[in-house]
Amino acid sequence: MSPRAVDDLCLMVAGQGGDGSLTLVNLLGDLLAGRGLELYQARNVASRIKGGHAAAYLRASTARRGCLADRFDLLLAFDEEAVEQGGPRLAERGYVIYDASEGPAPGERLPAAATVLEVPFGRLAVRDLRRDLYKNSLAFGLAARLVGASDAEAEATLRASLRRLAAPLIEANVRALRRGFEYADERGILAGRGPWALAQGRPGERLLISGNEAVAFGFMVAGGRFFAGYPITPASEILERLAAWLPEVGGVALQAEDELAAINLALGAAMAGARAMTASSGPGIALMQEGVGHLGSAEIGLVVVDCQRAGPSTGMPTKPEQSDLGMLAEGANGDIPRVVLAPGDPGDAFELTVLAVNLAERYQGPVYLALDQAVSQDAVTVPRFDLDTARVDRGRLLTEADLAGMDEYRRYLVTSEGISPWAPFGTFGGQHLVTGNERDEWGRVSTQPANRARMMEKRLRKLETVRPDLPRGRRFGDPAAEVGLLGFGMETGVVVEAAERLAAAGLPVRGLQPRTLRPVLEDVVDLVSACRRVYVVEHNATGQYARILAGAGIPAERLESVLRYDGVPFRPGELAAEILEREGA
């Protein structure tokens, strides 16, 4: 076998939940990251703790990629269902490692030129309580040979990963690993002579982190000290991380009794001067809508994270979608100013969370962070977050000293910028009334028509005040192309890569990843104005983002929705092919 040089390798590990697919992908990720490759790690799990088809995916490449590749080069299948699921996406000359304990691989599901390595894991692995762990170590040995790693590299990676286990367990796993090497020898896959010779990546440090973890971290760095949330997939990691981190910096993270409590706990803390946040997913965000309207009316700054999953209703809890956009853009009764930000990867998630925390206090209203299951939970290598860029901006916050120099203090003072100076509860001299009812400048409930109009206009004006500070989108592709491509959140990596494919196929596109979804900024307006047609890629069934754009006065006839709502992310090749077809190219 002569190894083929590759700079981009994608693999899938699948079996029943509890088979350890994620463990194996983590090991392979460690191994490939050790070569300086960029990683994109995803998973596909059933909505249960044990059992059900569960898959983990890993893409390792010299270029940083924000999605999985079109095809898998390697499929590690612990059962037949794994072959059924992964087989259709296996590359023509891909490899399959199959657990043949219960019979041969269903070859009819696989490309004719694929190489199948049938391994009787059940016989080879030690049969005892830790069998799965040994099975993974054995499979890891074989997979490491395939990706061209040296045996020493593989063993070092395994030992590092297991180093918290008792010594006899580590040695048993290393024996299983070596058994994997022996099996590879028997099949002629010798050390350094696998099918692929993976390129060396860049040296230098990077992070492997998920969007949810980046949000939690960004919140803390921005001075976030109070978090309340209710467990929900795929948002729970934010609660879990902050429950671990906030107490260390004098903060509080609380598991609320429901989402109604979560948002009201958080806004209570915000009024007392703690930078606060809550996080949930669609069903929980729906419960919070009254609270979001209240934030806008009572003028309380709070960050609300929506890790979107497939709806409607309880939908598909573990699958990604971007179908809460209508709710985020228009939900809650009455008219309120609102900001909806959408990070496209963990680096973005960190940066936009820091910004969101500052914005919430500056304009004293709700700031949504709209993620989706893929951005929330996929782990991606990104440059180490630059903490020098993180700053704390508390806007028009008043201290005791500020108040001492004032003749009077009106909480809802009408100002030209719409923003009223505010004093956190407990500040000497700042006593005031907060209410979601219409009120006068003193906070006294009022239905007087002129006051009402003035107050509504004041609140809406705040959005114009902060508009210059809202994050602009990231451009890619050909800045002179007449066909546009828009995608955000989980679509980001896909549209960027699809643009490369389209350019190579003779259809250059002008691309943009919007990072502020609402209000609609001029970056999107400019792009659409300059293009004859713009493909808007979204994970929902009705083109919710396109509707937001049309509602903002963007010519709807130029917008061409590319939608997906089956719970599966787009792959770049699929998207490029779809657009080429629609362009008649």
């Binding site: 050790g34 040296p203 910096v249 573990t318 108040l403 001492a404 009334l433």
Partner: protein
């Protein structure tokens, strides 16, 4: 004395002449004065309803909550800054109907704040609909909800009392004791006040008869939860209500050192080493040391209070 700007002028109560809520307001004003709590350290959070205007009358910090959400908001304030005296207030619609779930969890969570629930068995502001605390009269055989009895049934409750607008001296004492309990960081002080609505549900004559004065009952021991529960349950069966301090948990030692998120340092420069140490756990260093195995993204250990739901729906 530091100079202080002029702040909002306290409003004049909107209540009907004879409303029980006047007594609640007067008792609260007296308790704040007796305990010498500065206005800027006092936060009154009120719900929706006639009772939900009490925050406008005392010149303190005041907040008008969403219907039923007084307790989460008040808990957020109390946890963010434990130096504040936090008083939640609301009616029986707010606390026993739309917000009753939060009441249960306030007893369970035991945050150090006072909650004064003005129970008049009716929805006054929406003109006289029945509330879940109305004794008898329910169609379809529905029963009524006894808040203090509910509180006594939750093992972590620490202060449960009922006052009556018509018995001002006792009400004033109970209000002060509730504030003292919360200010000493002993936990959640729940004071239900039966406070008649003279317009829609004038219960003065009935409650005068139905109330059992605990101050006049030598057999009652407010440190005996089971005894208090038995008494309240026995009276409830007869359509009667105990008034007074039902239960106050004995002190459990000096208060814990509470976090104060509103005052915690947030300057990123100052906290940089701590933040960088967390990032280190996510760092991959190609060609160098193998990756740290205990990355939080893969850690098996979870914070004790939080169950892992990574791979499941709620």
């Amino acid at each position: 004395v530091t100079a202080m700007p002029r702040t909002y002028p306290p409003a004049v109560p909107i209540w009907c002449a004879g409303c029980g809520h006047f007594a609640v307001l007067n008792a609260l004003r007296a308790a704040i004065r007796d305990l010498e709590i500065p206005a800027h350290e006092t936060v009154i959070l009120a719900g929706i309803g006639c009772s939900g205007t009490i925050q406008n009358y005392l010149g303190t910090y005041g907040y008008h909550a969403l219907h039923g959400r007084v307790l989460p908001a008040a808990t957020g304030v109390a946890l963010a800054n434990p130096d504040l005296t936090v008083i939640g207030a609301g009616g029986d619609g707010d606390g026993y109907a739309i917000g009753v779930g939060h009441l249960v969890h306030a007893f369970r969570r035991n945050p150090s704040l006072t909650y004064i629930l003005m129970n008049n068995e009716t929805y006054g502001l929406t003109k006289g609909q029945r509330s879940p605390s109305r004794l008898g009269e329910w169609g379809g055989g529905e029963g009524w909800l006894d808040g203090p009895l509910l509180g006594l049934s939750i093992p972590s409750s620490t202060f449960v009392a009922r006052g009556y607008s018509g018995w001002f001296d006792q009400l004033r004492r109970l209000t002060r004791e509730a504030l003292e309990h919360a200010r000493a960081k002993r936990g959640f002080a729940f004071l239900e006040v039966v406070s008649p609505c003279v317009t829609y549900q004038d219960t003065y004559p009935r409650w005068e008869q139905a109330l059992h004065d605990l101050d006049a009952d030598p057999s009652h021991d407010p440190q005996d939860r089971a005894g208090a529960f038995a008494l309240a349950a026995e009276l409830a069966a007869e359509g009667r209500l105990p008034a007074g301090l039902l239960y106050r948990a004995p002190p459990t030692g000096p208060p814990a050192d509470l976090p104060a998120p509103a005052r915690a340092p947030i300057d990123p420069a100052q906290l940089r080493p701590r933040y960088e140490a967390i990032l280190d756990r996510y760092a991959l260093r190609p060609g160098g040391a193998p990756p740290e195995p205990a990355q939080p993204s893969r850690a098996k250990a979870r914070p004790a209070e939080v169950r892992s739901l990574d791979e499941t729906e709620r």
